[in-house]
Amino acid sequence: MEYFSESILAAIGLIVDFDKDLYQIVATSVKISCIALLIAALIGVPVGGWVALSSFRGKYFLQSLLNTLMAMPTVMIGLIFYGLLSRRGPLGDFGLLYTPTAVVIGEFVLILPIIINLAASAVNSSDPRLVSTLQSMGANKWQLLSLVLLEVRMAVAIAVLTGFGRAIGEVGAAMMLGGNIQGVTRTMTTAIALETSKGEFELGLALGILLLAIAFSVNWLLQRLHFYT
């Protein structure tokens, strides 16, 4: 018990003393997740809106596929992209394995289906009069997509924040594709796994507390947005 309480105190010490190593890991983690999120949101939000607004052959298959991908284990994504990016893989020549770009790719692939699905749900659950009103006002298909997304912006923001929560907390793909290189690809989750196995429980705990704080902030924001939708 003493060991645990002392570790907590030490962890808090690291946080309040602004330990350089600790915050470097946090910064790397947040940076990688934000880049992955930005790309996934730029693609996923319009695609989700388009899926919801269009009727095309294979729509239900696509939606089922996206639902399946939402539940895909992160190590599976890590495994697939490890195979693709490793030196002997088809994309090996780019030399991306164990770089932040590889982690960004893994997280992007992880959260893209989530953002597409939640953006599509946001549009699907919008007021049924919205689309016909815009059509009757003479909106073309691009104006229709952008104005519908604008009208359901709170729900879209929830989709994006959910994606961020998933990206920042994932460990499988980051570990397998990033390699946990200090100052480069060491994210909060990979560092927690490594430091704890090395016996550096305090650093792991400090990172855990910060990860929890970030997750809490995201959830708090989500709740506030839910309140306004």
Binding site: M137, G138, Q143
Partner: protein, 329 residues
Amino acid sequence: MTPLYRIANLVFAYRQHPAIEIESLDIEFGSVSALIGPNGSGKSTLLSLLAFLLMPDNGFIEYRGENAVKSRSLDLRRRVGLVTQNPYLFNGSVLQNIELGLKLRGVRKRLRKKISSASLKRVGLGEYKDLDVRELSGGQAQRVALARTLALDPEVLLFDEPFSYLDRSSVAMVERLISDFRDHPEKSVVFTTHDSVHGIAIADREIGLVNGKLGRSPLVNVFHGYIKSGRFITSKITVLLPEKVSWGSCLAVEPSEIVLSLKPLNTSIRNVFSGRVVSILEDQGRVRMTVEAGETFHALITYEALKQMGFSLGQSLWLGFKSTAVKVF
């Protein structure tokens, strides 16, 4: 002259259930047409087809000689203006809502503001332009939706149940707007209503719709006469009117508002007449009773009511309706 709309062999179905089946219908250019029918008769669906929001499953709709196909729907939608029964307003101010359609057409900001303000004034909401739409009442919201459509200067105004959600003064304003629209030789109006009397009163032509098919125009219980001291006097009966009515030469009573009874009516109903059943017919899933009570009245009742009351041909009965059930035009 090419009609405004030409409809031929039109079929539109919701999940295999035909909602509209019209063999042939022309709507004339420069006219005011009323689509009259009970709730669920397909009026709003037909209006959506006329607004090119829905496309026919079979048959065709021609707009001013042009076949309305999906690839042309955006252009056609921009030429017609639809005001729905329960309009959707976008988050933001009243003015932003009016401006949106103009913005979608690439109209410059200064001109947008000018047109939108003028359009708001036309519907009597000039002072509401900066108000958040969430603060509007149902009637005001419908007027904003009307202003939003008028701002786009459509060739045809398609109006779904314009009189359902409006108060008395707004109804007069909308009637005036429709009349202004009619005065313009290049403009036409098509509106839906379940209130046959209102439809007949302001339209050049009534189009009856029953279960998605063209039916006869429900012109019944309309009597000619004059008003004197709060009463409408025909050559045969005298009807008590609501207090505010002071002008009109036709009186109409909705068939579903008429109460029939074998005993004298001891309720708040002010207009009571004794009469005799002259016909009992089936009519759109209900029973149409024709009663001779000075004038010939048609009343719509349910099968259950017919069974319970045991009405039969030639029987003497009492017929009544409230003064508020009366429309004078």
